[in-house]
């Protein structure tokens, strides 16, 4: 049992921290987010050169062969700097699905392109009505003349604007919310019949609603009708990565707030000298440490393949949602009027954390999944192993 990073992991962490320091000051980030698609193509190329885009891919596909701890380190530092580049969408979701379910031919073509920084992707799983039920899918996929034809609409597709290729979750059989009958299809963003409506999220990233009218898919990812298991496992990996990202953002927000409380004076003293605020700052610190402990717990359990993995992952996602609300709310409140302005980065961190809460199920929804899991049967005692 140990909670230390390897030397390699420390190097990744340090190099991202350096990148953030040099490229993600407040005005720099604003400029990046103002670019088309809300991120910097130049940064993305830098990520490719530094090897960051290769981290989760297997060595035989030209990747670094990293595990969940490596992804955690990277996403945490990205979160600390509120890095806008679409690592989650392209590498973890799109790339993750390809690696787990695409044919060798497609893997051989696409994964090197992702690693090289040439290919942007997205995963379109949400619809207007779906809320947090991943299985609630009305977009249809039908086979005609040996081809898969997709019809319907997917919404709030992260990185949906920049993505050249998109994996779409569609229904090829079954009722609207069935687990079976879901098929994942790879489509070209430039396909005939595919239209995108672009908009921004509150933290600056771009999303798209995508309508598909008789769009011909390039390939099925995984097995037809059995896409749910595949997407569920990639969503679990993404949850872990997102929570690491949240931890970085929470740590940064706590540090900013603490700094502000130490320097902002009212009534002739720093506001951080008021005991009532001190106790609240301790609660914020505690919430952040809870997230960290659950993140370490979940990442170890996932990596070690223990039975604690699913339980820890859900617990972590709940805690991230709650800690985000607590720390986000307090960060604005303790910054006072300044916290209300777009002249500090506080608001952007808060918005990013609120979006993370809603991705793949918010705290309340996830807690009910957690309750079902742990209350199902009398439990064995031990947590680790």
């Amino acid at each position: 049992m140990n909670f230390n990073l390897s030397e390699e992991q420390n190097q990744i962490r340090d190099s991202i921290a350096r990148f953030v320091q040099e490229n993600y000051a407040f005005d720099q980030r604003n400029a990046v987010v103002a670019l088309e698609h809300g991120f910097s193509e130049q940064h993305w190329q830098q990520f490719a050169e530094l090897g960051w885009l290769s981290i989760p891919f297997a060595e035989e596909q030209g990747g670094f062969g990293g595990g969940p701890v490596d992804t955690m380190v990277l996403m945490q530092e990205f979160g600390r700097g509120l890095v806008a580049e679409p690592y989650l969408a392209t590498v973890l979701l799109f790339g993750g699905l390809l690696q787990a379910g695409a044919s060798e031919a497609i893997q051989g073509e696409y994964i090197p392109a992702i690693i090289g920084g040439e290919l942007q992707g997205a995963f379109a799983y949400l619809e207007r009505q779906s809320r947090y039920a991943l299985t609630d899918i009305t977009t249809t996929a039908e086979q005609k003349d040996g081809k898969w034809i997709v019809n319907g609409e997917k919404t709030v597709v992260l990185n949906g604007g920049a993505a050249q290729k998109i994996i779409v979750a569609a229904r090829s059989a079954g009722e609207q919310a069935d687990e079976s009958g879901i098929t994942l299809l790879l489509v070209d963003a430039g396909s005939a019949g595919l239209e995108r409506t672009l908009y921004r999220m509150t933290d600056g990233q771009e999303a798209a609603n995508i309508t598909l009218s008789n769009v011909e898919a390039k390939a099925v990812i995984g097995s037809p009708g059995e896409g749910y298991g595949l997407m569920a496992s990639i969503v679990d990996e993404a949850r872990l990565a997102l929570c690491a990202n949240a931890l970085g953002a929470l740590e940064s927000l706590n540090a900013q707030t603490l700094d502000y409380c130490k320097t902002r004076e009212q009534f002739g003293v720093a506001i951080g000298s008021f005991q009532a605020l001190q106790h609240r700052l301790v609660d914020m610190f505690g919430a952040c440490e809870n997230v960290k402990s659950l993140l370490y717990r979940a990442v170890c359990a996932v990596q070690d393949g223990t039975e604690d993995a699913q339980r820890s992952l859900l617990a972590l996602k709940v805690m991230v949602g709650r800690a985000g609300k607590l720390i986000g709310g307090e960060a604005i409140q303790l910054h006072g009027g300044m916290g209300m302005t777009d002249e500090l980065s506080v608001g952007f961190y808060v918005k990013h954390l609120m979006i993370i809460n809603t991705l793949f199920g918010d705290a309340d929804y996830t807690q009910q999944l957690f309750a079902q899991l742990v209350n199902a049967a009398p439990q064995a005692g031990s947590a680790a192993a």
């Binding site: 947090y132 709030v156 009534f267 609300k325 916290g339 302005t341």
Partner: protein, 392 residues
């Protein structure tokens, strides 16, 4: 002890409902909801209230008040909020007018009150400064007497709708020698006076409602001073009590909660309405129960005032609990909107975005964070309650 409505109360309720039906039209609501036309919409609404004689119910009758009973005030506010009609902009009718009525001279009353009633002036509030937020009394904007004019230098911040205002009421420092609460003077300043510039502040809700107002050798006639020089702090403090009561916005929270309930009823997750989701129902009813309590805390305070007594100690909680409830409703609505709460609608239609209230929910949420900061932050409210109510 009772809360029955009398026959007169029921007749009044009918009158209010009729007035709202005829005057708070869907056209006017649309004008107010659009950022580009909001100012005109609000002024038009206030003019209609003026015609009815209801723009300033709490004023003394001789200046245009209504002399309503507590029950009538409660009925008016409940009906107004239930209809979705806004309160009158507080800066003129509630804030500066209270000070003018209590401490202004006859000339000032004659000059300003009728224009406020008729919405001919738009007022804004010049209290906070970059270095003086919760510690308001440490303000530094100077007013130096030069003949029969003050010369103002300094700046005010967080000034709501300064971009629309033609008048600002300010606390300024006329003396730095004594205790910081002394030497503060209350001035009325024409926003068109040379030397005033307004800088917009972009806020986290994406709106422009806050500003910084700079004063560079701005000359203000002494006749625009309220009461005595150096007594401004006393005048402003009496106004803060009024502000505290108005910030609770209980009736508006009731409407907001009803809206959230119906939005949740329509949201379906895995085939089940969100309203049937027990954790959601728990959060919703937690808020509703607090709001039901708060409604009567406010009524208790109003009933005391109506009997000519000081409002009881419970009134110190109104701002604190009122804003907590408002923020809880805003947060809940974000969660009802789920992942759409992270979207910015921009120029898209709701149909294009795929959601019809997420954008409003998100903006209200972020804008609402301010309610626990302004009007004396909630931390300051707790300090005040601890000191003056609990005797600590």
């Amino acid at each position: 002890m009772h809360t029955r409505f009398s026959e007169e109360d029921l007749a009044f309720q009918a009158e209010v409902r009729q007035f709202l039906r005829e005057n708070w039209t869907s056209e006017l609501a649309a004008t107010c909801a659009n950022r580009a036309t909001m100012k005109e919409g609000i002024e038009e609404w206030q003019r209609r209230l003026y015609k009815q004689g209801w723009v300033a119910p709490h004023w003394p009758v001789e200046h245009g008040g209504t002399d309503w009973t507590v029950t009538q005030t409660f009925i008016y506010n409940s009906e107004r909020a239930a209809a979705g009609a806004p309160e009158v902009m507080p800066f003129g009718v509630t804030m500066v007018a209270s000070v003018i009525i209590a401490y202004g001279n006859d000339a000032q009353k004659a000059r300003f009150l009728p224009r406020i009633l008729k919405s001919e002036d738009w007022w804004c509030q010049g209290y906070s400064e970059p270095g003086a937020g919760s510690d308001l009394a440490s303000l530094k904007t100077r007013a130096d007497l030069d003949g029969d004019e003050y010369i103002i230098n300094g700046s005010k911040i967080w000034t709501t709708y300064a971009q629309y205002a033609n008048w600002i009421f300010c606390l300024v420092r006329t003396d730095s020698s004594g205790r910081k609460q002394e030497g503060i003077t209350f001035l009325l300043i024409d926003m068109n006076t040379p030397g005033i510039t307004v800088r917009p502040i972009q806020t986290i809700d994406g709106f422009h409602h806050l500003n910084e107002v700079f004063f560079d050798n701005v000359r203000v006639p002494v006749e625009n001073r309220i009461g005595e020089e150096g007594k401004g702090w006393t005048y402003a403090k009496s106004l803060l009590v009024q502000e505290r009561l108005s910030i609770a916005e209980v009736a508006d929270s009731k409407r907001a909660l009803t809206e959230v309930r119906e939005e949740a009823r329509a949201e379906v997750n895995g085939g089940v309405s969100l309203l049937e989701d027990p954790l959601f129902a728990k959060r919703l009813t937690d808020i509703e129960i607090r709001l039901m309590a708060l409604e009567y805390t406010e009524l208790r305070a109003l009933a005391s005032i109506a009997e000519g007594k000081e409002p009881g100690p419970e009134s110190s909680l109104l701002k604190l609990q009122g804003t907590e409830v408002q923020q809880a409703i805003q947060e809940l609505r974000m969660d009802v909107a789920a992942y759409y709460s992270g979207t910015l609608q921009g120029d898209l239609s709701a149909e294009q975005l795929g959601h019809d209230y997420a954008d409003t929910a998100q903006k209200s949420y972020f804008r609402g964070r301010a309610s626990s900061i302004y009007g004396g932050s909630n931390e300051v409210q707790k300090n005040i309650t601890a000191k003056y109510v609990l005797g600590l």
